[in-house]
Symmetry: C2
Subunit: 404 residues, 2 copies
């Protein structure tokens, strides 16, 4: 709205339009199909497609015979050798890297289990840069160019205009006001909250549908409780990038003290350590986080332990109360249970649905879907890689400009 449309931006817009149409089609499209679907002339489409093929974003498939007269049409598809996204993640007890291609397919993934607690931030950043270099080397060997990188951290991030950012606080990493540069070697680097990136991964996990613009809240119980909010098919970041701080919604104003300083936050009822505590299980580590704690919860629940079943029910009720607030405010269609909430979904979905049915004012007209994350634990790092691809698909002209 604030910038004029001129011939130059006209081409940028239409390049993105053509690329998106091919990307979201369930079958290869001919140039004529693209023209029909976009309303552009066939000549315009051909010029744009030539540019996208030359820039390595689209490829032409072998012609297949078709019904009717005329030459068989060449099918267009996203290039499997096109630019890739590099996703990176620093979390409490692991580092991860992931390379996804233009279609969002994971081409390479590395996870390194190293405890990051109390490790100085520069050391963690250096370690993830090393992992990134390993992943990039594999991509280069497969002739996959990398368009950029996105780093997920479990904390509050303020992005700078140039792409870098400041992690204001990442409580479980012990980080405070850590600056992350805008470059990782030669690659542009963006830093983002983990739940935001997982929500983006979830958004692209479904069947591509060019008309869909889903609205959902992705809640992650991995470390603390965070969320990513997708409104009309777009990640909602908030005025400063701090949206989705779901773990600190108040469940009981006079409840137990939270590490944030307030009382009765959701994390004190549905966080992993709160569940273990409520079930009378001694915490296996100071935060009650990590795979050991989650394993313990699952094993006890599977064995029918009444204390654990009660604790999970109470956690689901608290989660449902907070989710009802989010749905009443945001009018989203769906709730996605991610992180450790995904494997615990068999015990959480029912109490969550009960609270939504009672507390969401529009529950009588429109049921809110509650489902576990489609991607599982790797949602964050895959989402990070796909966020880079998302940018390439939205702004192909920027990628083409970097090509010789």
């Amino acid at each position: 709205m604030d910038s004029p449309v001129r011939q130059h931006s006209l081409r940028e817009h239409n390049l993105a339009l053509v690329l998106r149409r091919v990307a979201t089609s369930a079958r290869p499209l001919s140039r004529a199909d693209v023209a029909a679907a976009t309303g552009l002339t066939r000549a315009t489409v051909s010029t744009l497609v030539d540019d996208l093929v030359a820039g390595g974003l689209l490829c032409e498939l072998d012609p297949v015979p078709r019904a009717g007269v005329g030459r068989p049409a060449t099918g267009l598809a996203l290039s499997p050798r096109g630019p890739c996204g590099l996703g990176l993640e620093i979390n409490v007890d692991y580092l991860a890297a992931c390379v996804t291609d233009l279609s969002g397919t994971v081409r390479h993934q590395i996870i390194r289990h190293v405890d990051q607690r109390d490790r100085p931030a520069p050391d963690a950043l250096a370690a993830v840069a090393e992992l990134a270099a390993d992943a990039a080397q594999v991509a280069v060997a497969e002739h996959l160019p990398i368009a950029g990188a996105a780093l997920a951290v479990p904390g509050l991030v303020r992005q700078h205009g140039d792409g870098g950012g400041t992690v204001h606080v990442a409580p479980n990493l012990g980080w405070r006001d850590v600056d992350v540069p805008a470059k990782l070697g030669e690659l542009p680097l963006r830093v983002e909250n983990e739940a935001n990136l997982a929500a983006l991964g979830e958004l692209q996990a479904g069947e591509p549908d060019p008309e869909a613009s889903p609205s959902f809240i992705y809640v992650s119980g991995e470390i603390g409780i965070g969320s990513g909010i997708v409104l009309d098919g777009q990640l909602y970041r908030g005025a400063h990038g701090w949206g989705g701080e779901f773990g600190h919604l108040t469940i009981d104003a006079n409840g137990p003290r939270c590490h944030c300083g307030a009382r009765g936050c959701l994390e004190q009822y549905a966080g992993q350590d709160a569940i273990l505590r409520a079930a009378g299980v001694p915490l296996t580590d100071p935060a009650g986080a990590g795979p050991a704690g989650l394993d313990r919860i699952q094993r006890l629940a599977q064995s029918g332990d009444p204390a654990m079943l009660g604790a999970l029910r109470a956690a689901g009720t608290a989660l449902g109360i907070a989710l009802a607030a989010a749905v009443n405010l945001l009018d989203v269609d769906a709730v996605v249970l991610g992180g450790s909430f995904a494997p615990l979904a068999p015990w959480l979905v029912t109490p969550v649905e009960e609270e939504l049915a009672t507390r969401v004012i529009t529950a009588g007209w429109s049921r809110v879907a509650v489902r576990p994350s489609a991607l599982g634990p790797e949602a964050t790092v895959v989402g990070a890689a796909r966020s880079v691809i998302r940018d390439v698909l939205a702004h192909p002209a920027a990628w083409l400009a970097t090509q010789p």
Copy 2:
């Protein structure tokens, strides 16, 4: 993104760009100023301005001498005779109509105090249509064309594609599944939740700033408690138009039963009747709503009545807990207290700010502003009228197409 940019939509985009630039400027702009500000050529700007002047959207002011060489430049401004918006409101104890011009200035306003409770919906719609006709007559007499109408109702609205909508429920009017047509006589009519329209009115109440894209939550305590959410300068409606159902956020899961069927909703702590009840005042009417109840609260608070001061403090605390949830989720910069919360702001702001400071996880980095509505009680009907103007300014080509 989903439609191609061609010459036709290029013109539409640039018409809106030029109009918006003039509309948001603090001083009249010359054509050369507009060209410099938009990046369009002077020839293009001149053609677009000619169209906007011919269509009655812009007017040319008398040339004023200026520094430097060359002819004095003609200043451009929004036309005071340009298309107007007709705002309409059906509320519990009154009907209202309002005409605003392109600059958002109120040109005419009527309020008719008639109790709407238990009045059949068709009667209320007929009465508001009559009021609309009266307002339109005044506008015609002043040679002000009306571009469209927007009707505010205190309920859950699902808008139809054609502009009409269904009011699923408006509890304080006793409405259920009331269809509102897409036309009011010849005028296009849109129906919308009252708090959404009040939030839009608030958005346009400040000093125009083309760079500003504020994010705030407008909470209205007039009848029940509703809210309008503005994100990045745009009203957020939600997947079905039901966003902002703020009155039913849970304050205490085991609290008093709410008329919605759930327990412990915010309305049971900060609604007008809840405040009166907490202060030990017998309710003046069944809903405790209306100006009499509000007057009573204000007079007792002004006289320093300890029970009322305690009740207002408790209401402010509950409001603050719910607002902290909204700010944690949405990362908005500001909270606007509207409806009956505006005159009660002297007693509500402190407890609201205390809860925000404690419960908003980012409160240490960025203070959330809490302020009473700039527009006061007429926010809704003025916001309704301005929502029509907003559409004209965003899509001037659509208005021009209706002109002979």
